[in-house]
């Protein structure tokens, strides 16, 4: 039982930390609030994200964990964890959640050599951005019931249909799409994965505003969109299986806990410097207890994330799969709890969003809203809990 990092790992972490600290000096204010909002809500935020991405590409850090034959360094997963931890604790952008987080692993598993060269290289260099074409209006948690079609037509596929909840669809250059190539098949069968550019004729992007009016999500409509057959990734009709394999990549959830730690740090600063009724908030026993409870949740969550990463690195995937769902449920619900406690502690100030009056730059009241996007996305808490019961405890599937 040894939680110690090696000297090499420590040095690596220092290098990451220095880089992100330096980079974040120029960050626009929306990055104080972290999450997807910083990247997608404003053009300035997205521009900054792309800049950082390029810098990371120059350093070769976007592809460190990729296998050597795919242009990476085959860095161990624990180093990837340290990278993610450092980046997220600085609330830094630069890694494309969809491009680097999801599509690159898919390409690594399933792409042919030509595709690897053509599609992975720009990703490694930080020169391209992606969005994800998965959810549809009638298939929320139930991805296998997709209806968007991609019908083979000579050397092309013709795409028709609609995607929804496409985060960053209004900013990304490309999309990776899950569509039905065999309309005879139902549910999980007959689906395939594609790469495509978002500026193709026949694609329309319509904003879905968040409850506070911010623009992160979109609907994307496809009307006879033609893409070349060479942009099919992997085997035709085997996309669902491929998608499921991808879902199991780096899922420690460490980001929830390092971001939460930053929030707690700022909150502790706030209560130590803010007076109410003649006393510092930090002297209020009720507030002290709330902060202690958050500290505990962050401690145990952070440790669980390390355990997951370590197990994934070791190939202990069966525990890791269930534990990754645990980290997602726990981390996303903890984000909600942090936001609620923090805004309670602030009293009347807790309702103020981004403005000179708002404590912590309004980040907590923003988080109070955006956390709901996380507990419902990428496998809602309900689905995750079923997965935990099935894979973690062997309870019967229904």
């Amino acid at each position: 039982m040894d939680f110690k990092l090696t000297e090499k790992q420590k040095a690596l972490k220092r290098e990451f930390d220095q880089f992100f600290e330096e980079v974040m000096k120029d960050a626009p204010p929306e990055y104080g609030r972290g999450g997807l909002e910083g990247v997608y809500a404003t053009p300035e935020g997205f521009e900054f994200h792309l800049q950082v991405s390029k810098k990371l590409g120059e350093k070769g850090w976007l592809s460190r964990a990729w296998p050597k034959e795919c242009g990476g360094e085959g860095a161990p997963l624990i180093e990837q964890l340290l990278f993610n931890e450092s980046r997220e604790s600085h609330r830094a952008p630069g890694v494309d959640l969809f491009g680097h987080g999801m599509f690159a692993p898919t390409l690594i598993i399933a792409a042919n050599d030509e595709q690897k060269e053509r599609l992975l290289t720009p990703l490694a260099k930080g020169k391209v951005s992606y969005c994800q074409g998965w959810s549809e209006p009638d298939s929320g948690s139930d991805l296998a019931s997709l209806q968007t079609t991609a019908i083979k037509d000579g050397d092309n596929y013709i795409i028709n249909g609609q995607k929804i909840w496409t985060t960053g669809g209004h900013r990304a250059e490309c999309m990776f799409l899950l569509a039905r190539t065999n309309p005879e098949e139902k549910r999980g069968k007959g689906l395939s994965v594609f790469h495509l550019r978002m500026d193709l004729p026949g694609i329309t992007v319509r904003p879905i505003l968040y409850m506070d009016g911010k623009h992160l999500y979109n609907e994307v409509f496809f009307k006879d969109v033609k893409i070349p057959a060479k942009d099919l990734i992997g085997t035709e009709n085997e996309g669902w299986k491929l998608t499921r394999d991808t879902m199991n990549f780096e899922r420690s959830g460490v980001g929830f806990f390092v971001e939460g730690r930053e929030d707690l740090k700022e909150l502790v600063d706030y209560v130590k410097t803010t007076k109410r009724n003649g006393k510092y908030l930090a002297e209020d026993p009720i507030i002290r207890q709330k902060i202690a409870k958050l500290f505990i949740d962050l401690e145990v969550g952070y440790t669980l994330a390390y355990k997951i990463a370590w197990l994934q690195g070791k190939g202990g995937l069966s525990f890791a799969a269930s534990a990754a769902s645990e980290a997602k449920v726990f981390g996303s619900e903890l984000a909600e709890r942090i936001a609620n406690y923090a805004t309670e502690i602030m009293g009347l100030y807790g309702q103020l969003s981004d403005s000179k009056w708002a404590p912590m730059n309004g980040s907590m009241v923003e988080s109070y809203q955006f956390c709901m996007g996380i507990t419902v996305a990428a496998g809602s808490s309900e689905i995750q809990r079923n997965i935990i019961a099935w894979t973690g405890l062997g309870l019967p599937r229904f």
Partner: protein
């Protein structure tokens, strides 16, 4: 014991509900939220004509002597519709404070204008420290000849940006004193603060603002007592609005759960969704019945200090709970501005702070019990 509403009350509820559903759809609500004024003068005029603003007017001033519970009925329906208007600031906060502490002349004059829809008012109590306590009031009022000079900053003043007059709690030599101040008086600077409720919370700076000695509500030094007495009623009224919001959240979520299909069946068939929703219903039923009980106690002239605090803490927590589960059950669409559940999720957090947050009220209850 008769826990039903009279037929007049049922008619009142129906008429308020019908008006709001016809005149102020959730689409319209979002539009109003995004406007600088944060309310619709046109709708305000209409509800004045319909007599809603008379609900607190005693018979002696030409009102119908409605029981307090009738105000609750209106507030519940306003809460269901998420209707943005100065009803709470003007009729509830200011109106009830005037009723509690104003002179006969003030009541006649101010309430009369309110009822006619010609006067908007706001209550300026909290300051930079955001304390709910008496010690939190430090805006200074110094007598100079026949005038008081006010200096200081008020925060979280609801609807100050549209109000004609403000009730300002200030610290005078004799203690907390309430002043009636023209919102347009020289030296007042009002700025709207962006909030999760997208409402009219304002910062109001008073820089040597002159107020006539005649424009006091109550006696000098009497202000805290008046505020406290009014507070219990203000709380219960606000809870009416919040409970209405709970009901709307519950109903729209139940409808969605019956209609939305996943894996080929309505999501309302999943046991976990059923349990979420049974907890939501329980949270609502315990809240709404207690709301009526405490409102009834006010009509019976009982002291409700402890009960109003219990009600506010209960409703604070349950509104957050119900609307949060509501968003969760809606899934992705629940987080979008297009759907309506988010209106309630945001209000639940915003209203948590109105007239005392939960920790403040827990402590008030404990003080009463021990």
């Amino acid at each position: 014991m008769d826990l039903s509403f009279s037929s007049e009350q049922e008619i009142l509820r129906k008429s308020v509900a019908e008006f709001l559903s016809k005149e102020c759809s959730y689409e319209k609500v979002k539009e109003i939220e995004e406007s600088a004024e944060g309310y619709s003068p046109k709708l305000w005029k209409k509800i004045a004509q319909l007599g809603w603003l008379e609900i607190i007017l005693p018979e002696e001033f030409g009102g119908f002597g409605d029981p307090f519970i009738n105000l609750i009925i209106i507030m519940e329906e306003i809460g269901k519709a998420a209707f943005p208007s100065p009803f709470f600031s003007t009729v509830v906060q200011s109106g009830l404070t005037i009723l509690e502490g104003g002179s006969t002349a003030q009541k006649k004059d101010l309430l009369g204008k309110i009822v006619d829809g010609k006067l908007l008012m706001a209550l300026a109590q909290y300051e930079q420290e955001a304390s709910y306590l008496e010690t939190g009031i430090n805006l200074s009022a110094k007598l100079s000849g026949d005038d008081y000079i006010l200096n200081g900053t008020k925060m979280f003043v609801i609807d100050a940006n549209i109000a004609d007059k403000l009730i300002v709690a200030a610290r005078e030599d004799k203690g907390i004193t309430l002043f009636l101040v023209d919102a347009g008086a020289k030296g007042i600077k009002c700025t709207k603060m962006p909030t999760i409720g997208m409402d009219n919370n304002c910062e109001v700076i008073f820089d040597n603002v002159k107020v006539s000695k005649a424009d006091l509500i109550g006696e000098p030094g009497n202000g805290w007592k008046i505020l406290q007495k009014a507070e219990a009623k203000i709380i219960v009224a606000k809870c009416g609005e919040m409970v209405g919001g709970c009901k709307a959240s519950l109903d729209m979520t139940a409808a969605y759960a019956k209609e939305r299909k996943q894996y080929g069946v309505p999501i309302g068939l999943f046991q976990v969704i059923q349990h979420y929703m049974s907890n939501m219903l329980l949270a609502y039923d315990t809240s709404v019945n207690y709301l009526y009980k405490v409102a009834w106690m006010i009509d019976e002239n009982e002291d409700v200090t402890k009960e109003a605090s219990a009600l506010k803490a209960q409703v604070n927590e349950k509104y957050k709970f119900i609307s949060e589960r509501g968003v969760q059950i809606h899934g992705g669409v629940g987080t979008s501005r297009e759907f309506d559940i988010g209106l309630f999720y945001r209000r639940a957090k915003a209203y948590e702070y109105v007239a005392g947050d939960s920790d403040y009220h827990y402590e008030k209850i404990a003080a009463a019990l021990m």
